[in-house]
């Protein structure tokens, strides 16, 4: 609504290597482990890391200046740029707290930490969870610290709903813990995920249109999962929606109190089915059957009028996931449909050629390979449309480093023209070309977390802000004459903004007008070629009060192209405005849903549809004839309230206290162990881990003792302290240690190959930095200084050891159930270790490891790995190989040498796929997948001068090329553990001797 506001920092970037742009990122998903392992590797420099810790990086691009807003029940963590949003969040949290207190008849004993992020892109940088956060995650509750982490992402209604959802989790968790303690039961059970997530959805608000769409489609397409086997869809979007429907069914059938009774009776059995039977007083099978009947009674009557997208329209692309289509007709008249999608692996932009009836005449071709490079790091598959100009320039959005960027791609020349990177804009969605192909309109979220419309002039390189308020403005579309933008927004006065209507923005005046009104979700408008109509996706409530399918609708704007779209403006005036009604026609009555329609020049509508739990791109012809016989015609919006909706805020003026964030360590894990053995006596120790509320700072303490007598207690005491700091882009770790006692070390060149046990005392300090260049690459540098006193076979060796290393690691591999299936990863390391005082130790290390994965067919992957390792110098350590993870047929780490090369090649193929919707048979046994592999492994390890006795050389297989070939099975259980069984022949003596047939059983992921 505000006039254009220039953004001075906006820059129009020429294409360049992304690493030059300084838009790099890092943090390994298993960061803490990686750092610890890497640094402990340097603590004991002689046993330098034998294996790379691969993995992508979770990069802390922004150094957030955290503050804490203390309200009555919450500590709200925020950064100053999003202060207004945090105050809204505080209001929402306190609002729902009272309601949940009533619903649960329960009070929380502790304050609840709420950590807010302005956008999803900031949220993805959080250290509160070590894993990567996909786009669809709206927030989470982490029970160890009892904290809730939520991004706002431009939509206040959604922000409010997610806060409610997560706080339901907080109350549920605390009440269950209380119940179990009341009954003096161990906290070894919890309600199933479908219940806890379903309840959180159910008590967050009314079912939204996504819920209705998924449940309806699941029933019509016959993939709804019965209660007794709902574990098959554990954690899926379908499970959330079925769980919500189940909680609603329980509430409506047995009373709302039955929900609390299920929680309160969790103590009676670990099997929730028995809890349900006890509380609901019916057999589990009866409950399941009745629920299914209840669902059918509600939804089957609608099937009479429903049309399946697959029967109504032509499929343009149906492989994998595909959505957000747009059409381009080239200079030769050939039609091309572009869309974002994936075929089971990486996401990208695809192109398919179609004929005049929009039947595909070519296979989909991936023109932008996403998720493998810093430039196209990730797509917003459900959020951001793409747009092709009349001149053939494709505009699409990817995440690239800290922010989203818009790429401009010449579809005729098949090359990237440029990448637009707006420094002040964090998230960018749905760019749309002006008719003359010089301007781009798009929606964006800045650091404050609010979503507004922007305009970028590609000729002048100038960015203008079109709206600036707390409404969620999205999916702009240009009128054919370039005078107006149509967009979807929750700025409507209908149902206090809990709806989305269509609006027009007059570019000359900045005036915003209603196009539609009412309790509807009108989304993704696109103009007809003549400018007299808008096609859009919309859903409204039906006679039962539920949201109906998301259908394709057309709004009549008048006969004149680009006429002002009806209506009364939103400028200040009276309370109620008269409003000339807009005539809207519903073109479809779908069983599933339609999204992102695009009106082509030749009377077709290309859109994405949801059917059979799948998104596909489809087309519909003869739009004019559909308009002559619409499913429904409505005149909407006779009048609108002038008053704008707004949400409350809770800030300092309302009694909240604002404080700077101070790190306070809290215990995360404490674990102790003591054991006794007849040969080595009693030994034991403990590990303690502490971190701050934002998990930016970790402190690890370990202490253990291997003394065999009281007198040796101090002599054999080992301890270490490590601090890991993650709040900046470069991750830093440092610490001090003392390790003393008898040690088993197969990499020590002085130790006996047959029994590599010796006594060593070592103490010192270490430090390391891990710097992410991007999500896919990082540099690790580490250094340690330690005193070592070693006794091996009667020989004593003292040394003041300095060890330095530097590594570069790259990882774009795509993982599936059992390991990588596509992409590549690799690492190189250079290190040097020396004895500063006696020169007893002095050697350098170089290592390289390259792993390449090629997906030949869906589920079939060719994988190969080559690795070279070289330790050279005095007391150079031994590298090790052997075992199921690299050289099969040999025992774990049976092959040793100061120099080594190895190569493994494998063909991986499916035997039984994941037992979800399609293959439920093995799911009760916890089998997530069963895969096979055929392999060929080879290795050669040697030492300087092939030193050592003949006996030892045989024992460690030094000086000869070895290998194996065979096949194996990989069984993934519960998605938690992978069992490996290999059989084959192993070879020695340069593959001249077929040593023996072997069978080998182990566990772990594929290399």
């Amino acid at each position: 609504m505000s006039p254009t506001v220039p953004i001075p920092e906006a820059r129009f970037a020429a294409p360049r290597p992304r690493w030059n742009a300084g838009l790099c990122e890092w943090r390994n998903a298993g960061l803490r482990l990686a750092i610890l392992v890497a640094l402990i590797g340097t603590v004991v420099p002689e046993s330098h890391a034998q294996y790379y810790i691969f993995g992508r990086n979770k990069v802390q691009y922004v150094d957030f200046d955290w503050h804490v807003l203390r309200t009555e029940h919450f500590d709200i963590y925020y950064y100053p740029e999003m202060r207004e949003l945090a105050e809204h969040g505080a209001f929402f949290a306190e609002e729902i707290f009272d309601e949940l207190q009533n619903r649960f008849a329960f009070d929380l004993s502790d304050r609840v930490p709420l950590i807010f992020y302005a956008t999803n892109l900031h949220f993805k940088q959080t250290n509160t969870t070590p894993g990567f956060i996909p786009d669809g995650v709206g927030g989470f509750f982490e029970f160890l610290k009892g904290r809730v982490v939520i991004p706002a992402n431009g939509d206040l209604h959604r922000f409010r709903r997610v806060i409610r959802h997560e706080l339901v989790h907080v109350f549920t968790f605390n009440r269950i813990v209380r119940v179990l303690r009341d009954y003096r039961k161990p906290i070894d059970r919890f309600v199933p995920l479908w219940f806890t997530e379903g309840l959180a959805e159910y008590w967050s608000g009314e079912p939204d249109y996504n819920h209705e769409m998924v449940i309806r489609d699941a029933l019509y397409s016959n993939y709804i999962v019965p209660l007794e086997s709902i574990y098959r869809i554990e954690g899926s979007f379908l499970m959330y929606k079925q769980g919500e429907a189940l909680c609603r069914y329980i509430s409506e059938t047995y009373g709302e109190h039955a929900i609390l009774e299920l929680i309160d009776n969790i103590w009676i059995d670990r099997d929730f089915r028995k809890v349900m039977e006890h509380v609901l007083r019916e057999d589990f099978d009866v409950i399941s059957a009745n629920w299914m009947e209840w669902l059918k009674e509600q939804y089957y009557p609608d099937l009479r009028n429903g049309e399946f997208p697959s029967m109504l329209s032509t499929q343009v692309s149906g492989k994998g996931f595909s959505s957000k289509p747009d059409v381009y007709i080239d200079s030769k008249g050939q039609r091309h449909v572009f869309y974002v999608g994936n075929e089971g692996t990486y996401s990208g932009v695809y192109e398919v050629e179609v004929d005049s009836a929009y039947q595909p005449i070519s296979r989909p071709r991936e023109i932008i390979e996403g998720e493998r490079s810093d430039r196209y790091e990730a797509f917003h598959l459900f959020e951001s449309r793409l747009s092709v100009s009349d001149s053939g320039t494709l505009a699409f959005v990817t995440k690239s480093g800290a922010r989203d960027v818009i790429h401009l791609y010449d579809v005729e020349a098949r090359k990237l023209i440029t990448t637009l990177d707006f420094v002040d804009l964090t998230a960018v969605y749905s760019p749309a070309w002006s008719p003359d192909g010089t301007k781009l309109a798009f929606s964006s979220i800045d650091k404050s977390g609010f979503s507004d419309l922007y305009l970028f002039d590609t000729d002048q390189g100038k960015l203008d802000r079109l709206t600036q308020d707390y409404y969620d403005d999205r999916d702009p579309s240009w009128s054919p004459d370039g005078a107006y933008l149509a967009f979807s927004s929750d700025r409507t006065s209908s149902s206090d903004g809990a709806s989305y209507n269509l609006f027009s923005y007059e570019l000359d005046s900045g005036r915003i007008d209603y196009i539609t009104t009412g309790e509807r979700f009108d989304l993704s408008p696109r103009w007809s070629p003549d400018g007299s109509r808008l096609v859009f996706a919309s859903t409204t409530r039906d006679s039962t009060g539920r949201f109906g399918p998301q259908d394709l609708w057309v709004a009549e704007l008048g006969s004149r192209s680009a006429a002002p779209p009806s209506t009364a403006s939103l400028n200040p005036g009276s309370d109620t405005l008269a409003f000339r009604p807009t005539v809207v026609s519903r073109l479809t009555s779908l069983s599933g849903g339609a999204f992102d329609p695009s009106w082509t020049r030749d009377d077709h509508i290309v859109f994405s549809s949801f059917e059979g739990y799948r998104f596909s791109v489809r087309s519909m012809g003869s739009v004019d004839s559909l308009l002559r016989k619409p499913k429904q015609i409505a005149r909407i919006g006779l009048e609108v309230k002038q008053k704008k909706w707004s949400f409350g805020k809770l800030g300092i003026d309302d009694g909240a206290e604002d404080l700077p964030y101070r790190k306070r360590y809290r215990l995360d894990i404490a674990q102790g162990q003591i054991s006794q053995s007849a040969s080595v006596g009693t030994f034991g120790g403990a590990v303690l881990a502490f971190s701050d509320m934002l998990s930016n700072d970790y402190l690890y303490l370990t202490i253990f003792n291997t003394a065999e007598s009281q007198r040796g207690f101090l002599r054999d005491l080992s301890a270490s302290v490590t601090r890991v700091q993650l709040h900046k882009r470069a991750n830093i770790a440092y610490g001090a240690f003392r390790f003393a006692g008898r040690r088993y070390d197969i990499t020590d060149p002085d130790a006996l190959a047959s029994l590599p046990i010796f006594y060593e005392t070592q103490y010192g300090g270490f430090g390391g930095i891990s710097y992410p260049i991007s999500k896919f690459r990082r540099v690790e540098v580490s250094s340690s200084l330690s005193w070592s006193d070693k006794e091996v076979v009667g020989k004593e060796r003292k040394a003041l050891l300095l060890s330095n290393s530097v590594s570069v690691i790259h990882d774009t591999a795509l993982y599936s159930y059992n390991g990588p299936v596509d992409g590549w990863r690799g690492g190189v390391t250079a290190a040097y270790t020396t004895d500063l005082r006696y020169s007893n130790v002095s050697y350098f290390t170089t290592m390289a490891d390259l792993r390449y994965y090629k997906r030949l067919l869906p589920g079939v992957t060719f994988a190969t790995r080559v690795s070279g390792r070289w330790n050279q110098g005095r007391e150079a350590r031994l590298f090790v190989a052997g075992g199921s993870w690299d050289i099969r047929g040999f025992r774990l780490f049976e092959i040793r040498g100061q120099k080594m090369w190895l190569s493994t090649t494998e063909l991986r193929f499916p035997i039984l796929n994941a037992p979800t919707l399609i293959m439920p048979i093995l799911a009760p046994f916890g089998i997530a997948s069963l895969r096979g592999a055929v392999f060929f492994d080879a290795v050669h390890a040697w030492n300087d001068n092939y030193n050592g006795s003949a006996t030892e050389l045989r024992e460690i297989f030094a000086g000869q090329t070895l290998g194996s070939t065979g096949g194996g099975l990989r069984l993934n259980l519960f998605n938690a553990i992978i069992l490996r069984y290999d059989v084959g022949y192993r070879y020695t003596n340069g593959f001249k001797t077929q040593d023996r047939f072997f069978k080998q059983f182990f566990f772990g992921v594929d290399f």
């Binding site: 619903r103 303690r181 009341d182 009954y183 003096r184 009373g255 109190h257 103590w267």
Partner: protein, 392 residues
Amino acid sequence: MARSRRLITCTRLLFAGLLIVTVGGCRTLKLDPTPGMANAELDAQKIGTGSYSSLDSLVEQWSYNAEAGFGPVTPLVVDDYVIVPNRRGEVHAIDRTSGKRLGVKKFGDAINGTPAISKDLLVIPLDYGEKRSLKVWNLTGAKTAFEIAMPSVRSDVLLDGKRAYVVDGNSVVHCLSVTTGEECWTSNLDAAVPVFAAPVAIDEGRLAVVDSGGDVWIIRASDGRLESRFEIGATVVNNFAVGSRRLIIPTTDGRLIGLDPDDGATHLLFESSDPSVQLSAPVMNGSRVVFGATDGLVRCVDGITGREVWQTDVGAPVAASPAMAGRAAYVGTLGHTVLGLRMEDGSVFWQATVRGRIKSPLVFVDDELFVLSEPRFLYRFGKGGPIAQHAQ
């Protein structure tokens, strides 16, 4: 040699037996008979009111660790004893003066309804896991008098003379003789939902039972015959009160309903503006009804007209039934506090903090206030200073 080995074995067995007996002996429930117990007829409804007229501050005199949390049960106070069931299925007997444990016995997996005492017999309702969910324990003889097979019981036991009334998990009302264990009658309510609220004696001839679906069942006490059934259209999970020939029923949607058991006529005594508010079990003092709510307000209304006499914000949700004591009402909150309110205007005259949430009814007997709180403590508050604490 063999004889010696046998002797050692026998000695060991004897020692083990003694150990078991010793330890087991510590976990039984045996009380000395007292004059009060000889005439005791005590259940949740017959306890909890007092006539204490002073509004002095109370002092925590002792607290007792009952080893597990409490359901919505009322402590039973008889002479020198306080008897408390917990959610681990145990009943603890505590010396009222010193707070010292006198005995404890586990009867089942959990107890969520208040037992009743008839002379020296303790009638114990058991929740889940037991086929015989009603046990009658002889407190002085330390032995089971008899057990009745029925599905688990979640509500309080009602005592009327020598008869006890219990509603089981299948919504069947049982009447049984406390002395013989014989069932006088059973009445199947045929309710689709369970009963959590305790049955109430309306007058000498009738009982009222309210199921969680809001159906009110009026039953003839003599033979269990169903006289009438009324619907109030709301969920009821807390106990209700009876006064002035009216049932005062709290609902989970923020309403307090007065119902005439003769004709089913209802009168709305209170309605919260927020339907998610849940009301505690009400207590009556004359025509006045006092109840708490999860919105943190304690209210006093006229039991006939519904006119609000006062309301007081106690700062945290109230789930437990208050206790009345002449000019005072005592309230426990989920915010770990117990408060004394003046009956005339609801103002707070005393407040104390306990170790956890209070979700069980408070009891005020002979100038002493008994409070059950999380995680597992029974408190005695009274006049005068604290009594030496006994570690349990």
